[in-house]
Structure formats: structure tokens, C-alpha cells
């Protein structure tokens, strides 16, 4: 699979709060993300889980109403004070909820990031295409049509292409924002399988509305509710003996 493993990287949020205008979306969240784990983030709508995810690679910067307090560290560097947004986004990739390839060929989609980063070496670019597609479990399906439009792929294939596109940047951390919300069960299974394989080399954060998915793929799970981190623990403990009643209510489907 991936030949050279990126260095193991951790992230940590300390008393992290987010506002959009006057509305507070996150309330003093403190949470660490361990190297080469899948951290599942669950919670009902408006719980702040997506806000949290987008805080991790500064995707909120484009929103003029965004305001924050606290600190998020990537390998002990403060990503909001010591690094610039572009650098952070190169090291922390994100896969969005909807499979959205750019209207270009499969190859061009994957090479979008590396080329803009300045990679010009043909052989190296070719290798990146193959390696990223293999890591996203899509290589076998598209190897003979890399130059056809990415828009012709099925939804599940498009989402795996989006994963490959993110991996081609060779990030340290990959964020998944409900990556299976638009996919059928078989495609979902493939994407989940891919995520578990990626864990060997990357640090992953998975925001999902599907608690069963969190149970299937996460090592640890964080439960958010109304902008607060209610509970964080190993997947096993969270799904069998959560400490907080609200966590229990949510995972057993009593609300949300």
C-alpha cells in the first residue's frame, strides 16, 4: 500500500470555543487526537461536531463571522497562531460529506493539490496517482480510464476519488465529514474499509451521523451535544458503559 508512512502526528484542542457572529457553536472543548487512530465524533444536528472538524484544518477561516477562543495544536504547534491556514490545510486534509470531484479528469483531480504545491516531476506525479488511488481502494476500478471525466464515476467511486485526492497531498491527518451520508450501503462499506486501512499510516477524525458507523470503525468516540464535549472514551466503553446518561440516550436512539 502506502510505501513511506507519514510521521505520526497528534492534534489537541484546548478550551476551544467557536462563534459564528453571536451564536456560539462550540463551548470550551478540550480533546486530544492520538496518532494513527480513528477518532469518531458523534452527536445530533447542531451539536458542533462539524464546526469542530472544520476548526482542525482552518476551513472556517473563509467565514467572516467566525470567531474563536482557545488553542488547537498540530504536533505542539498552535495552528491558529503559529501556522498559516494554507500550511495547516496541506497537513490536515478533509473529505467532505458530498462526493464532489472537480469537473476534470480523474488524474487531474488527484494531481490538483500536488501540482499547486509545486510538484513538477512527471514520474513522481504518476506514482502519486497510483499510490493515492490504491490507498483509497479505487485503483483497480479506474486504472484504465484515468483521463476520463471524474463526473462519470458512481457516487461511491467519486467519494473514494475525493479520499484519494486528499491523500495525494500527503497529509498527516485526514478529516472525514460524514463521508458516507450520500452513499448506498455497499459504497459505505468500501469507504469504511478504506478508512480502517488508512489508519496504519494516518491519523483520522470521522464525524458521522451514523452511530453504528462510529462503532464499526472508530478506536475512540467523542460525543458532542449543543457545542459541548459530553464524553470521550474508547469505542467499546462508549457503546457499552457510557458514563453520561445523555451519551447513553443518544447511542441507544432515544433522541437525535
Amino acid at each position: 500500500m502506502v510505501s513511506e508512512a507519514p510521521a505520526a502526528v497528534t492534534m489537541a484542542a484546548q478550551q476551544w470555543s467557536v462563534w459564528y457572529g453571536t451564536v456560539q457553536a462550540l463551548k470550551s472543548v478540550t480533546l486530544d487526537i492520538r496518532s494513527r487512530e480513528i477518532l469518531g465524533v458523534i452527536g445530533p444536528a447542531n451539536s458542533g461536531k462539524t464546526s469542530f472538524l472544520r476548526s482542525l484544518n482552518r476551513m472556517n477561516d473563509m467565514n467572516p463571522a467566525f470567531r474563536y477562543e482557545g488553542k488547537i495544536a498540530l504536533d505542539r504547534q498552535d495552528i491558529y497562531r503559529e501556522l498559516d491556514g494554507q500550511t495547516v490545510r496541506r497537513r490536515v486534509g478533509i473529505v467532505f460529506a458530498l462526493p464532489l470531484p472537480l469537473p476534470m479528469s480523474i488524474r487531474e483531480n488527484i494531481l490538483y493539490g500536488p501540482r499547486l504545491r509545486g510538484e513538477r516531476n512527471r514520474a513522481r506525479l504518476e506514482e502519486l496517482v497510483e499510490r493515492s488511488l490504491k490507498a483509497a481502494s479505487l485503483w483497480e476500478e479506474v486504472r484504465d480510464r484515468l483521463d476520463s471525466s471524474a463526473m462519470k464515476l458512481s457516487g461511491g467511486q467519486q467519494q473514494r476519488l475525493c479520499i484519494a485526492r486528499t491523500l495525494a497531498m500527503e497529509p498527516d491527518v485526514v478529516l472525514f465529514d460524514e463521508p458516507c451520508s450520500g452513499l448506498d450501503p455497499i459504497s459505505t462499506a468500501k469507504v469504511e474499509e478504506t478508512m480502517v486501512q488508512l489508519k496504519a499510516h494516518y491519523t483520522l477524525v470521522l464525524v458521522t451521523n451514523n452511530t453504528k458507523q462510529a462503532a464499526r470503525v472508530s478506536d475512540r468516540v467523542a460525543f458532542f451535544l449543543m457545542g459541548e464535549l459530553i464524553e470521550l472514551g474508547s469505542t467499546e466503553v462508549m457503546f457499552t458503559a457510557p458514563r453520561d446518561r445523555r451519551t447513553n440516550d443518544y447511542i441507544t436512539g432515544r433522541f437525535g
Binding site: M59, Q86, F96, L102, P103, G113, R165
Partner: protein, 287 residues
């Protein structure tokens, strides 16, 4: 006995329908009349010779070659000035500007520019380019004047084209580690090009057909040669048509209709090209 209310309502509806339909029909009449008359009476005058030779006998005979060349040169030069500034402005307004007093002022200026009568552009060009900047009556002064006139068209069309590129493209690009400018350059602009081109062609069509802005800035009554630099005067189709229609006695009608026909074909084919381009782009786009 009075008719029941519903029958009256039906009658009113019929009358309204007929009136609306007639109004619509009315717009077709001048279009058909103008294009028809000029085509019927002008097509006969157009020959290879008419298109490629100099006017002779005080413009009462011969061709309109210098006017065609002048218009093409004028229009090309106009695009050279208007397109970069127009696109740059549109990019700034859609991708960078925040809503503040300066942006609002710029938008107000654009709206107002598009409402200025063309003769005012002509006088403005005369004052600024011909006299103040000392370009004289020249292709340069005329092209700059026309460029200012079509800038609002290009800016508005480009803005619309840029805005029609999905917001998600920008997010994706940024998430892949692209800078703001790289995002505009690689994830937005390529998908807006067809729309920008459509707007530009419509602008060119307008520039090619206008008389007033070139009247004082570039147009030569008669020039026995082609312009040899951008500081030279030039003949142009709309002005040539005006001259031979009003300033020269005893001129055969075929000369006038021929010139009008050539101008009409030029402007209409530009508009048609814009329409076709837009249609093809809409069919082909994938998002």
C-alpha cells in the same frame, strides 16, 4: 339582460390576451423590417470588390475596405484594453471584495457607466484621450473610449459567470492546500471562461456598432490609406455609413445599403456567436 360576471371576465381575458400578443408581435415587426430591407437592398451591392477596395470618386463608388479594416482594428484594440481590466475587476468584486463603502462605490460606478449615453463617452474621450493626454484623433483614443463604454458589459457578465461557479469548488480547492489566488486561477476562472467570453462578444458587438463614441476620437471622414499605427486616424463602418448617408450628395443608394448590410452582418454575427457559445456551454457543463 346583463351578461353574467363570469362571461364578462372571460371577455376581458380574451381582450387582454390579444393585446399582449399584439404587443409581442410588434417587437418582431421592426426587427424583420430593418433586417429585411437592408438585406434585400444591400446584399446586391456587396461583392468581393466592395469589401476589398478603397472608396473612389469622393466615396460615391468603390469599396469600403478601409472602414472594415478600421472597425476590426478598433474593436480588437478595444478588447485588448477592456478585457483584462473587466475580468480583473470582476474577480476582485466576486472573489476578494468585502461589502464596504468602496465596493459599493465601485458597483454604483459600474451601474452608472452602463447608463451613460454614448455621445457623452465620445465627448469624454475627446477631452481626456484626444486632448488632455494628447493622443490626438487616433485608434488609441477611440479604443480607450470604447473600452470604457463596454467595461460595464464585460464586468457584469464576468461577475455573473464567476458567481455561477459553485461555492464548493472554492472550498475543495482551499481544502487541497491551494492559496486564495490559486483557487481563483485553477478552480474558478476556468469554469467561468465561457460566460466571460459570451459577455465580451456582446460588448464587442456594441463597440463595433456605435458611432457617437468614435465620432470625435478616431473616425476619419476619408482616409486614402489604412492606418499605420495606433496613433493614426481610421475610418470605421458606423461613421462611414453616417458620412455617406448625410454628408455626401448624389451617392448611389446601393453604397449606403451595402455598407449598412456589412455592418449589420458583423454585429449580428457577433451576437449570434455569443448566443451559440452560451448554449453550447450550458449543454456541456457537468455540474
Amino acid at each position: 339582460m346583463a351578461r353574467p360576471a363570469w362571461q364578462r371576465a372571460l371577455g376581458v381575458q380574451r381582450v387582454a390576451f390579444v393585446l399582449l400578443f399584439l404587443s409581442t408581435l410588434l417587437i418582431v415587426i421592426p426587427a424583420v423590417a430593418i433586417i429585411g430591407t437592408i438585406t434585400v437592398r444591400g446584399m446586391g451591392a456587396v461583392s468581393w470588390e466592395f469589401l476589398t477596395t478603397m472608396p473612389t470618386k469622393g466615396m460615391r463608388a468603390g469599396g469600403i475596405f478601409p472602414a472594415i479594416v478600421g472597425t476590426l482594428e478598433l474593436v480588437s484594440l478595444t478588447v485588448v484594453f477592456a478585457l483584462p481590466i473587466g475580468i480583473a475587476t470582476a474577480i476582485y468584486l466576486t472573489e476578494y471584495a468585502t461589502d464596504n463603502w468602496l465596493t459599493r462605490l465601485v458597483r454604483l460606478a459600474i451601474v452608472n457607466l452602463s447608463g451613460v449615453p454614448s455621445v457623452v463617452y465620445g465627448l469624454f474621450g475627446l477631452g481626456l484621450f484626444v486632448m488632455f493626454l494628447g493622443f490626438g484623433t487616433s485608434l488609441l483614443a477611440g479604443a480607450l473610449t470604447l473600452a470604457i463604454m463596454i467595461l460595464p458589459v464585460i464586468i457584469t457578465a464576468s461577475e455573473e459567470a464567476l458567481r455561477s461557479v459553485p461555492k464548493s469548488f472554492r472550498e475543495i480547492s482551499l481544502s487541497l492546500g491551494a492559496s486564495h489566488w490559486q483557487t481563483v486561477r485553477h478552480a474558478v476562472l476556468p469554469f467561468a471562461i465561457p460566460g466571460i467570453m459570451t459577455g465580451t462578444i456582446l460588448g464587442i458587438g456594441r463597440a463595433a456598432g456605435e458611432t457617437a463614441p468614435i465620432l470625435f476620437t478616431v473616425a476619419a471622414f476619408y482616409l486614402p490609406r489604412l492606418p499605420d499605427s495606433i496613433f493614426d486616424q481610421a475610418m470605421a463602418l458606423p461613421y462611414h455609413l453616417y458620412v455617406i448617408s448625410t454628408q455626401i450628395p448624389n451617392i448611389p443608394a446601393s453604397q449606403r445599403y451595402g455598407t449598412a448590410f456589412v455592418l449589420l452582418v458583423l454585429v449580428l454575427s457577433l451576437n449570434l456567436a455569443a448566443v451559440i457559445l452560451r448554449a453550447r456551454f450550458r449543454r456541456r457543463r457537468q455540474w
